[in-house]
Symmetry: C2
Subunit: 476 residues, 2 copies
């Protein structure tokens, strides 16, 4: 009865994807809503996923020479205003602190929506000579953007992220770092999150406030909508000029630095849910699964069963492993393990023990594999590796099957309305065409991919000569 | 010339301890001041120390069943006001957000000074049955307190910390967790930071706003002032009643939970500086040193020297090790290594190579030890272990030598003015005596230590019968 309820409680993906997402987020115990409008509480299971993301991303950062720092969470209004495009982009969506204790502040402070201005203010006094360059700093923190409509992980007023901010002696070096970090993000998504992404450049319309160029990785969710999953910006010397960040170069001349910034957020957890999840709940790639193996004893009151479950757990200690020894029924435990997306479960009961085997069940395919006990570690490792690979390939196949080509507006409209997914189409480079597509079809240019293709000679919108192939789509 | 400047730039500890502290914090490149009044930027070297603290503390937490979560950074005013003592304690020193974007908020939000109210609001909906207990949650985040006077690490408007918040079925279990975490903190300070601490209970006057009991660890700085280094609070069911956090117990009755909270902060970095530092700069305990071994090549332009330095680095890869291969002079490099408190330096030059040896110099004692190259790893390990132990013992000896006993006000005054340090004295338990001591001598009760002694029969202040032995002191 109770078991039925647990399963019934998830809306089917095909029926209502948005409700399915909310159900999974809640039932898998990732977050809870709070009394603070638009802000969520990240629960232990959700936070454990974030910790695994942080750890693996941070290791990759450090291999490229990134150093972590911490800047204040407040930005004085005058500082935010120093770079014109930047303040225009962010001022409408920041939270303002006006009082400290009982006293009104002389100058308002905003809670950082992003920290370019703080890093610039810091670098201005920190960088003097070419010997001080490059600076490759990053911070892990939370930021605030006063969004009107919010959804757990995807868009909330406060979210967790990392933001890298670098300073370089030359534009070439800044561009190189911008691309390096974008590729690092893309590789991370593919290798750790099993999530294929399109790497490309944003159009001017879609780039970051104050950036000269914004690069992006775009992933396709199960429902055919795109999710911007990480961005990397090249600022040229725009911020350096606005903030006066200069250094004495080897030729003894005073020059402005070139800067970049790049970030990924807790939004990635939303991406994992929407790329891999199914109607039984979450499906976690093994590399970010807080529990990789759940051992579920069958007829656990029978002599020797629990002991064997614990013994297997000890043998599997090289993995993130748990035994579900609660007094729930095995069926209920299976449902919970599935809802939480735990990659494999090991079923072990009296008959298995007698036969010297157990059953491994893969979360993604539900395949059941009989394994001899003495081979358990080896098999578990093999299956987790295979699952990590298969999940990436399955997501790639889904994305490719949901990527179409349009050569004119009629085709574009037809695809957007009937075949949700990415649409590849040529573009003349004129913002008016982007505006028109957005207005008519609520679709945006996701990126100009690094891997360009020649699909036709003319712009999908205006019919003028095409300059770039663009990925279009409806997006979160 | 330049080398002289580096050394000259530090004020002597004995001349001006406060200035020495500021010099070390800046010259060791731990922090930088920012345009945001009262907030500091933590630079890579300072943040790397914090990462090592975090990692080792978090591991110890998790061994006791702690789970990490993340709560919003904002607290609606009405939520902050739910527990009377708590709001009185914190409202005067919080930052208030009044506008989101261009809109004035209907209700002000404060930036969390601590998150009891948010956790209570969460637990209220999260806890239903005794099966949900205990809840042992923690978060790593930054908090804001609108301090008037600030000093790097010791007191700043924003600081980094961890805050644990737990809920239990019984008062006994809450008390047990409160003490468990205090002991975990104390062990961490002693074993990792090489910093001895007094474990004890705060008087009612000094306890946390809203707590039934506050426990503290108190450390003695080199200048004889005390530093509260971690606290653990037992709230009883006070917050639970204010927030309505109830659960159905095994006996099917509805009961209030019992709660605790406990925290340590970036203040610990200030403690490390002031416990271990000397007139050459920082001295870091090996377990929290971002670089444990700095290899400094002598006559590095001579053939084979740099190669050998790199070869030694590779052999020492089990440690946090670096080679200083910059074009500075060895003397300059020594000064920098000392300023940054790097535990050991390895000097290697042409003569050493010829003789098949190198010189290890310990940062704390400046002892120089000749080591045969084939023994390097083993010796380095031994010396780091020994240094970690010696630093604790030296700090303990310093503390013991700066702990006095007073039996009356004249003695107390004499000691506080002439022998800076802890003063042990008996107390009647009356707050009036604490007030008087604070007013007359600017000293506070640091704690009623777990290890009580009977020093005299009467209160140091009023002469009435004594109830408790108290550690008194001037404090940061």
């Amino acid at each position: 009865m109770a078991e039925k309820k647990l399963v019934e409680a998830i809306t089917s993906m095909d029926e209502d994807f948005a409700q399915w997402y909310t159900d999974v987020v809640k039932k898998a115990e990732l977050i809870e809503y709070t009394s603070v409008k638009g802000c969520m509480a990240i629960k232990p299971y959700g936070y454990a996923i974030w910790e695994l993301i942080q750890k693996q991303l941070d290791e990759r950062f450090k291999e490229t020479g990134v150093e972590n720092v911490y800047m204040p969470m407040f930005i004085p209004e005058s500082l935010l205003q120093k770079e014109k495009d930047h303040v225009e982009g962010f001022a409408p969506e920041v939270a303002w602190v006006t009082h400290g204790g009982l006293t009104e502040l002389q100058e308002r402070l905003c809670v950082r929506p992003t920290s370019e201005t703080l890093f610039c203010d810091f670098y201005k006094n920190d960088i003097h000579s070419y010997r001080d360059l490059p600076r490759v700093y990053n911070q892990w923190c939370s930021v605030v953007r006063w969004e009107k409509e919010t959804r757990p992980f995807l868009r909330s007023r406060e979210f967790l992220w990392q933001e890298g901010h670098t300073a370089h002696a030359t534009m070439e070096e800044a561009e190189e770092r911008t691309i390096q970090m974008l590729n690092l993000y893309a590789d991370f998504c593919e290798e750790v999150l099993a999530m294929p992404v399109i790497r490309g450049k944003k159009t001017d319309k879609e780039k970051f406030a104050g950036a000269e160029a914004t690069y992006t990785i775009e992933a396709l969710m199960h429902d055919g909508k795109a999710l911007q999953s990480g961005t990397s910006h090249n600022f040229g010397d725009g911020f350096a000029k606005a903030f006066g960040i200069q250094f004495t170069d080897k030729d003894n001349k005073l020059k402005y630095v070139y800067q970049t910034s790049w970030g990924m957020t807790t939004r990635l957890i939303g991406a994992i849910i929407m790329v891999h999840g199914d109607n039984s709940g979450l499906v976690l790639p093994p590399r970010v699964a807080p529990v990789q193996i759940m051992i579920i004893p069958i007829q656990q009151k029978k002599e020797g069963v629990l002991e064997m479950a614990y013994a297997l757990r000890d043998r599997l200690s090289g993995f993130r492993v748990k035994v579900d020894d609660t007094d729930k029924s095995p069926g209920w435990k299976f449902s919970e393990q599935e809802m939480r997306g735990i990659p494999i479960r090991v079923e072990i009961g009296p008959k298995d023990i007698e036969a010297g085997r157990c059953v491994i069940c893969r979360r993604d395919t539900r395949e059941k594999i009989e394994v001899r006990l003495e081979e358990l570690e080896e098999k578990a490792d093999e299956i987790l590796e295979q699952m990590q690979k298969d999940m990436l390939e399955r997501a790639r196949a889904h994305r490719d099957a949901h990527t179409s080509v349009a050569t004119n507006m009629a085709e574009l409209e037809d695809i957007l309305n009937n075949r949700p997914g990415f649409v590849k189409a040529m573009w003349c480079g004129d913002q008016a065409c982007e505006d028109q597509i957005k207005e008519k079809f609520a679709a945006t240019s996701r990126c100009m991919p690094f891997e360009q293709e020649h699909l036709s000679d003319t712009c999908v919108c205006c019919g003028k000569p095409a300059k770039k192939m663009v990925y279009w789509g409806r997006a979160y």
